[in-house]
Symmetry: C2
Subunit: 350 residues, 2 copies
């Protein structure tokens, strides 16, 4: 019996297409012999596409993507200096629009320090945690405005919107994931001493959901203190649950302490299966090194593993993760392999 994995592929801009090609190579290799056939539909979207067409994410393309099983996303965004593209437009109208419209409420970001990978920390310890970042609420809702814009009397606001519905599903997912891990510990990160209303909603929700998971312990850190622990004792973390903006900040920092966001994978998970989930490296499109075979495709490859795990191919996902681990552990400081060489090497180990 053959199954088909109907994949939407959005390679994007800059190094996106290069790293996505390697991720697909490894994904195909991992599925060999499993009876799963991959059907790929590639979508031309991103800054380049906008420059040539004026389109970000047309409604019919979005509906087409919605029908697929999962999305593999590369990276998007123009060069920082490119003034032709309004800043943040592609991020908001493509990437965030996908996350929000497809109700990808859990932005899942594992952080692991592989043996042999250089961390900027002198004594990193054993780092192996996962951030469950809320993906569809908080300060990301686009609910801001300005008046008297451009005058000395301008007022600009940004509204963080948080709902019991939105917070609870993410908190429950964090506890569920923690219950399946060895340490079984959830850390809520927020700033409830200042952001009282949103913070207390998060805190109360954690207390309530914790009662359903007596085997999982939980604690709380203000976001400022959490950044301290991420550089002084990252080994203390198991599962972090946090809001959209704090999660954005913490996962970039976590990527840095675990040897660079060239290794950081992520999944944007639709929890109820009403729309496809999306898997993407945490890094951006890095236009400065695009097309030069300099990008590390590991984060994209690990994102493909998260994708396979999500669609029920946990065994294939585990083989990719083991191959990445073996490859990463065999790297020597200063070695320069091309994007393709790294992809080939990992594929060969799968």
């Amino acid at each position: 019996m053959t199954q088909t994995l109907d994949l939407a592929v959005i390679p994007g801009d800059g190094i996106g297409p290069e790293v996505t090609a390697e991720a697909l190579k490894v994904l195909h290799r991992a599925l060999e012999g499993t009876g799963v056939e991959v059907k790929e539909t590639h979508y031309s979207l991103g800054a380049q596409h906008w420059l040539s067409t004026g389109e970000t994410l047309p409604a019919d393309v979005l509906e087409d993507i919605r029908g697929r099983d999962a999305i593999l996303f590369g990276a998007i965004g123009a060069a920082p200096g490119d003034k032709r593209i309004p800043s943040g437009l592609i991020e908001r109208e493509l990437l965030l629009k996908l996350r929000f419209t497809l109700d990808q409420c859990v932005n899942l970001r594992p952080s692991r320090l592989y043996a042999g990978v250089g961390s900027p920390l002198a004594a990193p310890g054993e780092i192996d945690f996962v951030v469950v970042r809320e993906g569809t609420e908080g300060p990301y809702v686009g609910n801001g405005g300005s008046m008297r814009t451009g005058t000395p009397h301008e007022i600009a606001t940004e509204v963080s919107v948080n709902t019991a519905y939105g917070v609870e599903r993410v908190v429950r997912d964090a506890f569920r994931r923690a219950s399946l891990r060895a340490r079984k510990k959830v850390t809520l990160v927020h700033k409830h001493n200042v952001l009282v209303h949103a913070g207390h909603l998060w805190k109360r929700t954690v207390e309530a959901v914790a009662a359903e998971f007596p085997e999982v312990e939980h604690d709380y850190l203000h976001v400022d203190a959490a950044t301290i622990f991420l550089v002084t004792d990252p080994a203390r973390f198991d599962v972090i649950v946090t809001d959209n903006l704090f999660g954005d900040i913490l996962t970039d920092l976590a990527g840095a302490v675990t040897g660079g966001i060239g290794l950081a994978a992520s999944g944007n998970i639709n929890l109820d299966g009403t729309a496809p989930s999306m898997f993407e490296p945490v890094h951006g499109s890095a236009p400065d090194i695009a097309g030069q075979e300099k990008a590390d495709p590991t984060a994209a490859i690990l994102s493909a593993a998260l994708l396979l795990d999500h669609v029920g191919q946990g065994e294939a996902a585990a083989r990719i993760e083991a191959a990445v681990r073996a490859d990463v552990e065999s790297r020597t400081p200063g070695e320069k392999r091309t994007t393709t060489e790294i992809g080939d090497a990992i594929a060969a180990r799968v």
Copy 2:
């Protein structure tokens, strides 16, 4: 001719009184022979005071403080587990109320890695930057709310309010400070690709003010990227200007990479002199080690130096800074001096 420095002293809770005593000791020593007399008025405020009186910051006390030349603040806050005090109450009704009511719009937080101080970073490089954190706006305005609270339909919001007036004075202060430094560089940190309205107000303001300071260069980083640089290349920073919440996060992280917030000083500056400025260590009240002579008073002592600099005693401030530098550079890993011993040693070097 004698001058009088009319000082409000708020020692606060936990280790606050211990470190404040050492800061005052060093401040007095630094002013010896300058002709400046210090008049101290101590205010009993904080979590303990609230527990015994139910008062946070009574109006008449606030008015009394308002008449002083400057405020030396220790640390406030109850033990994390103390359920008698509503979470965040003392922080908001005392500390933030002072910052807001006294219009302390620039929260100035220098970060310096002293020779010999252990950083958690393997190769920290030369770290010497200052964060100009906005202190009276942004997500700290307390402009949030919740409805259907405690039900599955709860909605909780937090509104970040930013004004051209509020942003501009802080940005101008950052450029002015940068123009007096060797590297003359300002980095704006925000998240304008997502927080469009607030972010663009900040960006436009930086562009406008930059035109007045042609000798100062400037760049921009998203807050997530800024945390990466703080651990991979903190030496790239000279003056960071950012909003209240991002500044809170970045300065704790900066404190950690420069060897711990036991060394991080701060000033809450009222720019137009309509009310006193307030100087405080970045660290909290650390109830777990209070009363044990274990707290490092260096951050409080450096805050006293910032205070002296602010009131026109730059020479005395420089002597404190030199004494701290000499003391810190003579520390040996693992040495255990008491709070008083450290204060005495620094005072002796002034």
